[in-house]
């Protein structure tokens, strides 16, 4: 085994030595005119170069795998027997050299993911009981330990800041390169970099449990999760390689041409075919990972590229997700007093509308907290009636007003209708029997959505759907603003699943875009589930694509990336199959032999790798993807 390891370690030197010997051999033939010198050097070159190939072939055979190396080894031995030393030397050299180039270029396609994994520090400065710090291996840091992170260092754990403040760059987790201010009690994530400041962090998650470690694990698994096409090729090549061996034997039996038979062995190597599809996926997944887009493997990539229908869950996806008071219609001389009373009543409720109103009052520095509430009743589906500061206050919808005999004038009704038509939820306020104010509360539509949705259509989306639990007026308004084709409102989570299933029955490929938490049933049902703006465990587990930041730029990029990656895979398969066909035609027509065949093979492997490398640079640079993001993932 020592010998074998020595050979493995010195594969590059062996390749170089072979090259030198081949050159020396040709020099002795053409410069010195020495045929024996030529044959001997090339024979030595063949023997040296075949050793590592033979070792691989033998190991594979031990586990009952007929490998490409075996085909090459047999071919080389055959060439050696019939005295074609130049052929055997060049074939082995090309095979080794091709392997070397393959290693170099393959590592390029893996680079984006590697650079990601290397962002995690390997040691941490742990604060000891006596206040000193000690450098500890990352695996020995426990939850509850306090670690110290200085400017420029990356954070080794997930945790909470207990002392200090600073700015962190969370691009490792969100793909978005932006400085975020952090203070005591703020959460920080492993793998993110402290760009300025000095933090003491209490570890809440360490090692493989950190968000970052989970992302890395997901991406690493994803690269090796094969698409159907890849699985097919794998199955195919397990039969293909032995089949080539049999073909060579058959060729020999029929033609009695030994040289032709061993040439078949070399030409039949499935090189580019085996590497072509995986290499595209690795490059594509790597491209996404750099931008905070996690695509779970070749299968997800494949299905995602075929998606024609996008279903959005409105809440938090198309909107900013922060409801706020957007309009106030006043029918009183003292609006501030009315608002203060309303806010006080709403402190009784934790309804999002209520919170929006108290926030609005607080924002306008209205003093309402001190107002006394002496009596209150909440009517479900209507609102709240309360006695505040000795005034009878009603806060709720039209039903509540009707029930309490509050009359609305025609202009007031018109105001209310107008607010509703803009998608706002409407809150009516009456004080001592008089309608005094109408408040419009709405969720702000993300400003970039309309443009991004039309980009999504350009990439290939045919049908955009919104399924939401919100009321129809709001849903229709939002849909109209951003350019959605189909809207269904006032739905329960199980209704959404039904719609997704119906779309699938209609022959559509559905991607469901949600926050990954509330809509997991739909995400699981859809062909592709996309969790947006959250790197939570649930999101990572149930969805096929995770967008770490809540950005539509990332969605458009991911969709385009999937389409490009799949196209790239197909190109590679066509190249690989085309090369094999070309070689056999060349062989039949008599212009391809062993050495030239091997050359074409190795060249084709490099071509497919280079083709896949184009995917690494697809789209905008990583740091520009984040620009449209509204807020970082929580």
């Amino acid at each position: 085994m020592k010998f074998q390891q020595y050979i493995e370690k010195h594969a590059n030197q062996i390749t170089l030595l072979t090259a030198i010997l081949i050159v020396a051999g040709y020099l002795s033939k053409y410069a010195l005119g020495s045929m024996p010198g030529y044959n001997v050097t090339l024979a030595i070159a063949s023997v040296i170069a075949v050793i590592p190939i033979f070792i691989h072939a033998f190991q594979a055979l031990k586990v009952k795998v007929i490998s490409i190396e075996l085909l090459v080894t047999i071919a080389v031995i055959g060439a050696f027997i019939i005295g074609e030393y130049n052929e055997s030397a060049i074939v082995t050299f090309l095979f080794l050299f091709g392997g070397y180039l393959e290693k170099r270029t393959l590592s390029k396609t893996r680079e984006s993911i590697k650079s990601l994994t290397e962002m995690a520090p390997t040691t941490a400065l742990v604060v000891q009981d006596d206040g000193t710090t000690e450098e500890v291996d990352i695996d020995d840091v426990d939850e509850g330990d306090i670690v110290l992170v200085k400017t420029g260092a990356s954070i080794p754990v997930d945790g909470k800041i207990v002392e200090g403040q600073g700015y962190t760059d969370e691009s490792a987790v969100t793909g978005e390169s932006k400085e975020i201010a952090k203070n005591v009690n703020d959460e920080v994530f492993s793998g993110t970099i402290v760009s300025d400041g000095f933090l003491k962090i209490e570890a809440t998650k360490v090692g493989d449990d950190t968000t970052f470690a989970k992302i890395v694990e997901l991406v690493e698994d994803a690269q090796d999760t094969k698409s159907h096409a890849e699985k097919f090729i794998d199955r195919f090549s397990t039969y293909y390689t032995p089949a080539v061996l049999i073909l060579a034997i058959v060729v020999y039996l029929f033609s009695q041409d030994f040289k032709l038979a061993i040439t078949v062995l070399v030409l039949g190597c499935p090189g580019a075919l085996v590497i072509g599809a995986p290499v595209s996926n690795v490059a594509g997944i790597g491209n996404g990972a750099k931008r905070g887009i996690l695509i779970k493997g070749g299968d997800a990539m494949d299905t995602f590229s075929k998606v024609d229908t996008f279903v959005f869950d409105k809440t938090g996806t198309l909107t900013k997700g922060n409801t706020a008071v957007s309009a106030v219609k006043s029918y009183t001389d003292d609006l501030n007093q009315t608002l203060a009373l309303t806010a006080k009543v709403e402190t009784l409720s934790d309804h999002p509308l209520g919170r929006a109103i108290t926030a609005y009052a607080g924002h306008h520095q209205l003093e309402f907290n001190a107002l006394p509430i002496t009596d209150n009743t909440t009517t479900k589906g209507q609102g709240i009636a309360a006695v505040v500061d000795t005034k009878n206050v009603l806060v709720g919808n039209q039903k509540l007003m009707d029930a309490n005999g509050i009359a609305m004038t025609e202009p007031q009704v018109a105001d209310m209708k107008e607010l509703q038509s803009t998608g706002s939820s409407v809150v009516l306020v009456a004080v001592d029997g008089q309608l005094q104010a109408i408040l419009g509360v709405s969720d702000t539509i993300r400003p970039e959505i309309a443009e991004k949705l039309s980009e999504l259509r350009k990439v290939g989306a045919k049908h955009l759907v919104m399924l939401t639990g919100d009321n129809a007026a709001t849903a229709n308004y939002v849909a109209q603003q951003v350019g959605i084709d189909e809207v269904h409102a006032e739905l329960m989570p199980e209704d959404k699943v039904k719609f997704v299933k119906q779309f699938q029955k209609d022959g559509r490929r559905v991607a469901f875009v949600g926050d990954g938490i509330n809509d997991s049933p739909s995400i699981a049902t859809a062909d592709i589930g996309i969790a947006m703006g959250s790197g939570t465990d649930v999101a990572i587990e149930t969805s096929d694509v995770v967008l770490m930041q809540s950005s539509f730029d990332a969605l458009v990029h991911a969709y385009g990336l999937a389409k490009n990656t799949v196209r790239n895979t197909k190109e590679n398969i066509v190249i690989a199959v085309g090369v094999v066909a070309f070689l056999f035609i060349g062989l039949l027509l008599g212009f391809i032999y062993m050495a030239s065949g091997m050359f074409v093979h190795e060249a084709s492997i490099l071509v497919v790798i280079f083709n896949a490398m184009r995917l690494i640079g697809y789209g905008k640079p990583a740091d520009q993807i984040g620009e449209m993001a509204i807020e970082p993932a929580k």
Binding site: Q4, I55, A60
Partner: protein, 79 residues
């Protein structure tokens, strides 16, 4: 006790290495699951501590001719 083992290998470049490592590791007594990640050049396995050790798996892989750069183990609660 069950243990989860992650072995970081030198860069794997040939897909057929995967099959080799997979069957060599899976063939060891006490190995419950094995997964070779080709692109990450990692081997993940769950083992029964009473029958084998992470070091033993590392040795098996070394003997096949692949350098093991790092060995990580983690105890798993019995299901």
């Amino acid at each position: 006790m069950t243990q989860k083992v992650t072995l970081q290998l030198e860069d794997l470049t040939c897909p057929s290495c995967m099959t080799k490592i997979q069957s060599a590791v899976a063939g060891q007594a006490g190995v419950e699951t094995t997964k070779v990640l080709f692109n990450a050049s990692k081997v993940k396995a769950t083992i029964d501590e009473d029958q084998t050790t992470a070091e033993n798996l590392a040795k098996v892989i070394q003997d096949l001719g692949y350098d093991v750069l790092k060995v990580k183990t983690k105890e798993v609660e019995p299901a």
